[in-house]
Each structure stands twice: as structure tokens, then as C-alpha cells.
Amino acid sequence: MTLWRLAWRNVWRHRRRTVLLILVVAYAAFATILYWGINDGYAASVLNAQARFVGAPVLIMTPDYRDDPDPEHALPDLALTAALREVPRVRGIAPRLEFPALIRSAYTAESAVARGIEPQREREVSAVPAHIVAGRMLQRPGELVLGRALAERLDVRLGERAVVDTAGPAGPRAAGLVLVGLVETGVSQVDERLVLVDLADARRLTGVDTATALALDVPRGEEEAAAAELRRFLPPVVAAYGPAEMLGAIRQDLESNRVAAIPIAFLFALVAAAAVTSTTTVSVIERTREFGMIAAVGLAPVRLARVVVLESVITTVLGWIVGLAAGYGAVGLLARINLLGAAFGGFVGAWSSVPLTREIYTAVRPAYALYASMTVFVGAVLAALIPARRVRRLRPAQAMRIE
């Protein structure tokens, strides 16, 4: 108890040094929490964009279509729809008929994947209809909705006709459709490539009378679990896929990003630990004469070393608490306010292969406190042991002669 009191007093006798140490530890904890919050938040933003804008929270399709998205691998029928409505997690169902197409204006042509939808049902499963920024949503066959950037590249304006060409199971077909709405979501894959047509037009163009997928809405965060649950329930000719499974190569990127984050986080911990250790070591060197005096009045070197360890423990724990508060405060703020989207929004267009909105939020998970404590623990152990070892070897008479 005496040692604790001595350590506590020592800590506050050298306030500047203590504050510096607390700041170093706090910074390590803060940086760790922020790093993981941004990392996980980025992955969550990609998955959310995939689920709400690019694909759907859950997609039911044939495995053949999943492997080779050709309309000839469409669903055999849509009889499943009624049964799916009874599944508790399923909040909305919409059929989709997607097909490769060429969109032509009088000036240029762009390749795209056109999506045939039932306009009313699509609202149940996708955030896209809520992001019409000019004109209106599809209402009937003969109409077309495009991503704003795509429409700009084609130079097609509202009320003008664009031509949709395709070659489905019915052979080569084309239709002139009138542009009624423009979509802008901040997801480059949508804004630059989205082509929405009425399901009836999609069926007429492709000759497919069912759909290539059933899009399902499920509560946020339950997408993968719902897909897994549905897979057990569905007949073998079809399967359910969550957004992570529909990401393709990007999914591997996300996973490898997470794996790559671990050594980076470890490096963080090491640098933070080195900073704490060096600060503590320097402070011990500075206090050599002081330690010599204390040892001379009877405190054994082992106990003196314990005091140094306790000082380190007190400062690192205080730093850890400050770092946790600052870290969770920052990720909590960035989870509510779209500051990252504003900061990195300019890159979203450049990463056109990654479904990412201009809304990027951090994730907030309790595990970050554990990651931060691991960082701090490494720092604390090094900070305690190295200077303590020096103090244990201290010879009072020699120490007191040091200026």
C-alpha cells in the first residue's frame, strides 16, 4: 500500500512528464480505436451500398445465374414468392430481370446491365427509388430511369428517348424507351451504370417470362444470417445470397484488407509501446540521483523497481482511459456525422469497382477497447520492465554522484 502511495505521489510530483506519458498512451489507444472504427466502417459501408443500392439485402437466384449472369439462367418460376412472404425476417420481395444491354443516344453508346423491375415492389427492397434527383420513378412500360452520370455521358435528357439493345434467349431485340428519371446515390456503380426498365419491357426484350432474381429486404445487419436461414428452406434449384457473397472479388479485397489491418495495428502497438518505454526510460535516467537518494535512505532496489512499475501502470491506465474516451467519442461522432464521406468522397468515383456511397461512417464495437488495451498492455509491460530493470541494478552511492 505504501508503494502504491509512493508511486501515486511520484506520478503527480512530475506532472509534465506524467501528462506526456498519459498523452502518449492515450494517443495509442485513440489511434487503435479510430483505426479499427474506420476499417470496419469502410467494410460496412461497402456492404450497405451493395445491399441497399447495387444489389439487395438478400438475392434469390439460380446458382447458374450466380456463376454466369445470363438471362437464360433465370428462375424457373416465381411460385416461391408467396412462401417467402411468410418468412418472418422478409419485409419485402421484388422480382428483377437483369440483362446485358447497350444504351444508345444520338451521340454515343454505353454498355450496361439493365434491370427490369416492378416499380412499386422495387421500393420495398432498394434505396435507389428514393434517390431520384430529377424526374420521377418508372410507372409503366416504355419508360427508362438512368444513373445521372450515365445519362450525362449519353447526353440524354428527361423526356428524350434512348435505345436499349440486347440479345437474350429471344434473340437480338431493341426498344426505344423514354427517360423519365435520373438517380444519384453517390455509389458510382449506380450513378454511372444504372439502367432501370419496366419488368414487362425486360421480358419483351429478353424473351424471359420469369425473373433472374428475387430481391428480398431484411433488417439491416441480418442480411447474411437471413440468407443462410433461407438457404435451408429453399429448393435446390435456387439459392439465397447475402451482400457479402454478391461482392465477388471485392469481398476478397475486404477480407484481405482486414487481415492486412492486423499487422498494421500490431505496428501501431509497437510504436506506441516504444514511445511509452522511451519516455519512461528517459524519466528514470533523469531521476537516477533521486532514486539513489531513496535507495540510500533504505528502500531496497527491488521495491524501488516496483515503484517504477507502479508509476508506469498508473500512467498507462490513466492514458488508456483517456484514449478510450477520446477514441469512442471520435468513432461515435463519425458514426453519426458523415465527415469521412466528405473527406474521402472525392475518391468514391475513382474506386468505381467498389460499391461505396459518399456516406462513410465508422463502426463502433466493444472489441476496440480490447484491441486498445492490448496496445497499451504491450506498452505498459515494456515501459515497466526496462526502466525497472535499470532501477533494480542501481547502486545508491554511484547514483547520488550523477548530476
Binding site: 444520338a106 439493345d165 434473340g171
Partner: protein, 248 residues
Amino acid sequence: MVRTVWTLGILAALLASSAGAGAPAPDPQAVLRAIEDNHRGGSGRFTIALTVVRPGRQTEYVLDIWSDGEDRALAVVRAPARDAGQAFLRVGDNLWLYNPRLKRALRLPPSGRSESFLGSDISYSDLAGRDAEQDYTPRIAGTAEGVITLELRPKPGAPTPYGKLLVRAQAATYAPLEWTFYDQRDRAVKRVTFSDHTRVGARLFPTRTVVEDLLREGYRTTASLRDLRFGAVPETCFTLQALEQGCE
């Protein structure tokens, strides 16, 4: 008095209609068909010298063409040497390309019809087909100085991105003179001019075609036909075997 006015009015209307009956207005659809017939020239074989002009450069191609004058055409590139042997076959909406280096025939998507042929201002659709008759509703826009002008408006849902076509032809023969393509804002975007007509039976077939991109200065393609041999083309010319091995 009122009755007198009515009677005069009816008389005037009758006179006007009887005057018109002496020179019935031509059926726009029939005029368009006649222009298309002249434009297509009927079935036959010919050689095209294709000059593609771009800002700062010019490329010359020589192609042999076999066409049934309708929806089928085979084109084989003879020059320049680097492109020689390439061949294109259109049968209705289907389009194939033969690459001699790969020794493979590839079926192009239907969108390929509207794509640029050999990087020129001519699309594959321009080589064969009667898209105008299928996609547009014609109206006689006027006749002046021996030239008849048809205005073509797209049919509802027609697969054309244009808002209007103005077709000018000789009023007496319906030999095509000029097609102007307009966007949907009434701005001319492409002009095709026909000249050097040659008589093929009852048809007046243009042997020189100039396609101008009106939105990009210096983009022009000239197609000059020579060695015209009209007459039936064997069915075997419109097969994948002919695409790979030619049709002689």
C-alpha cells in the same frame, strides 16, 4: 345570306378537293420505300473504296460486298494489308465478324449494328437493312426544285435515338440525295449525301456516299462503289462458311 355563305364554302371545298384529285399527293410510305429501293440498288456484288477521314489522318479501305439489297450482306476487307481478310456478315439482326488472325468467327451483339464499321462514320446497319421503314413514320415535308423532302419521325418505342430524319430525293425518280439525322432537340447530328447515281434496271443507285459527323469537325467517311455487278447473289454467300472463306 347564311345559306349562301355555306353553299359557297362547300363549293370552294369541293373545288379544292377536285383540283387535288388531278395530282394526288404521293403516299409517303411508298415514297420512302422507293427511295430505300434506289438506295439499296437490289442484290449484287460490288467493291467499295472507303475513305475514313479523321482530324490529322486518313485511312483507305477496299472491301468486296455481296448484298441481297435487303437485310443480308457480306463484306470482306481486301486492303489495307493489316486488315485484309476481315469479314462481316449481316443476316437480319444477326451480325458476325471473322478475324483472320484468330481464324474465328465471332457473333456480335445486336448493339454492334449501330457501332462504327471499321472505325468509320458508317454503322453496320448502313450496309444492309431497312430500318428506316420499320422505325419511322414518313411525311412529305415539301417538294421544291425537283427535290422531294420526307420528314421521318420515330414510331412509338422505335429503337432509334434520333428525333427526326429529313430525307431528300429527286422528286421524279426518288433517287436519294441526302439523309440528315437530327437529335431529339432538333439539332442535325449526321448527314449522309448520295451522288454519282447509276441506273440499275428501274433503279437509280448512288455509287458515292459521304457521311459527315456534324458534331465533330473533321470526321467524314466517303464510300465509292465500283465494279458493280447487279443480279442474284447465291444463298451460300450469306453463310458462316462464306464469312470465313469468301464468296466468289
